[in-house]
């Protein structure tokens, strides 16, 4: 039996929600459950991120879910975004749960900001980051991006090519924080440095407040749903030896994204699809260069070719593989990658603000986990 995404829900994506993360979680969850045509009493499984601050018991108590038979959390931060759907599908297909609620909610702009320096190591795994000044994700990831930039002779302006496309999509997506606010490459180059010589402000994802939720059920229930079911055709994660707490400094070659390559192999093997069978791709971008590395890892272009691939218009509106049609995490909002899964569902349903005509198959990646969604 296959599993399907039956419901999607989200709050607004803002910079100051004015309410608790628990409220954001249950607002998004209530919306997703209703979108699936279910009630909280139908939910018997849950998945969220290990970093999510909302306890399962608090979420179920507020929603009125009487019993959870299954609950799990995914590894890491945004790298676990797509893995939430993998967990949910595994639970449904194996019979451990009939309807799994997935949520992720935070006040990541108005409260704890990921982009602000972390004052002290949360645990000893951070001892080889923080004392040396690697105290934000931008700096930590920067050490990998520098290697990519060095190997292929790129400059920061090359990375800006992606941001311009993301903001173009966001400009016509009413859900996006940067709705009606496109930028030019000159705007990108005028934004302040975050990590020299790699990342400017406009290379960085937003910091956002908000919540996203999904509901996963078995494909046998697809005919009963009020909205079109979206099949989870493939779901995978890839964690490789030599990875570390936050990033992969100890892999031999940091100019390639081996987790992405191995994840791609797994997803294409699971589904029988190939890269160009996809109609849309949602590619997690905490920072613009990671889009380049994932386009290469997933086979849309060869090593070092992403710059020219993006410059050719391939990922923009009407391109060969439209990427992050919601504006992505730079343009729409940063709900730890989960809003990109919502956009993928909208594309397959045919309800995306920047709908790709006839879209039926969508790739969603979040670094170390990924999904292929399609029409059942």
């Amino acid at each position: 039996m296959d599993a399907v995404i039956a419901g999607i829900g989200h709050t607004e994506y803002s910079k100051n929600s004015g309410r608790s993360t628990l409220q954001l979680a249950v607002e998004a969850s209530r919306a997703a459950i209703a979108d699936a045509g279910l009630t909280p009493a139908d939910i018997d499984g849950s998945v969220t991120f290990q970093l999510d601050k909302n306890d399962e018991l608090a979420v179920m108590t507020n929603l009125g879910i009487p019993q959870l038979r299954f609950s799990s959390r995914t590894r890491g931060g945004g790298g676990g975004a797509c893995a939430t759907v993998q967990h949910a599908a595994a639970a449904v297909v194996s019979g451990q749960a009939r309807a799994v609620l997935i949520w992720r909610a935070f006040n990541e702009r108005s409260r704890h900001r990921f982009g602000q320096p972390n004052p002290r190591p949360p645990d000893p795994a951070w001892d080889f980051y923080l004392p040396f000044g690697l105290d934000t994700p931008a700096k930590i990831y920067g050490l990998q991006f520098q290697r990519y930039m060095h190997r292929y002779g790129l400059t920061n302006a090359d990375f800006g090519l992606y941001t311009v496309v993301a903001r173009q999509y966001a400009a016509t997506n009413p859900h996006a924080w940067f709705y009606k606010r496109p930028i030019t490459i000159e705007d990108h180059q005028a934004s302040r440095w975050i990590v020299e010589p790699l990342l400017r402000l406009l290379d960085c994802c937003q910091e956002s407040d908000g919540g996203v939720a999904l509901v996963v059920v078995g494909a046998d229930r697809a005919a009963d749903l009020p909205n079109p079911a979206v099949r989870i055709a493939g779901a995978g994660a890839s964690h490789l030896q030599g990875g570390d707490e936050m990033f992969n400094f100890y892999h031999p070659d940091l100019s390639t994204f081996v987790e992405g390559q191995t994840l791609a192999d797994d997803l294409w093997a699971q589904t029988g699809y190939r890269p160009w069978d996809m109609d849309v791709a949602l590619i997690y971008e905490n920072f613009s260069p990671i889009v380049f590395m994932q386009l290469e890892a997933f086979g849309y272009c060869g090593p070092g070719e992403a710059r020219d691939f993006i410059a050719s218009g391939a990922i923009g509106p009407g391109g060969r593989i439209p990427v992050n049609t919601n504006g992505g995490l730079l343009g729409e909002g940063y709900i730890h990658g989960m809003n990109n899964i919502v956009e993928a569902v909208r594309q397959v349903r045919g309800t995306a603000p920047n709908q790709v005509a006839g879209a039926e198959r969508v790739l969603v990646t979040s670094g170390r986990s990924g999904l292929v969604l399609d029409k059942p």
């Binding site: 002290r120 040396f132 000044g133 920067g142 020299e196 790699l198």
Partner: protein, 132 residues
């Protein structure tokens, strides 16, 4: 004044930071198969032995990658150059590079270790190896 978050250490990595306080750059070595490993951990991934000792690195290596660490909202903090150094012994280390402007840093440049008080914390640092 640069703000430095001191290490919190645990049973697995305490030897490294104890070594730093003594001015020694120690690398963990499997006592069974002699494989070096970093960052530290309790088990040898090659032979699965839990027995280990350490070797002292010569502190020579090359810059694998680097960034300028300087948070834009903290204008008073002195920027630091953060490097990944590939040590001659074959492991990779996160550290800082001193002694040259950041614009002069290049991938592959030869560096050597020294120890310095940085914001009140003794840390392994690297500097360029001068022309012979």
């Amino acid at each position: 004044m640069v703000r430095v978050a001191p290490p919190v250490t645990d049973d697995d990595n305490r030897f490294f930071w104890d070594g730093v306080r003594e001015g020694r750059l120690r690398i963990q070595r499997c006592a069974s198969c002699a494989t070096l490993r970093h960052p530290p951990g309790p088990m040898c991934p090659r032979c699965h032995s839990l027995e280990w000792d350490t070797v002292e690195s010569r502190g020579r290596g090359t810059v694998y990658s680097w960034v300028l660490s300087h948070h834009p909202t903290e204008p008073d903090a002195e920027p630091r150059i953060v490097v990944l150094v590939d040590l001659e012994e074959g492991v990779r280390l996160v550290a800082n590079l001193q002694g040259l402007p950041w614009a002069d840093v290049t991938n592959g440049m030869a560096v050597e270790a020294f120890f310095a008080d940085v914001g009140g914390v003794l840390l392994p640092q690297f500097r360029p190896v001068g022309p012979a």
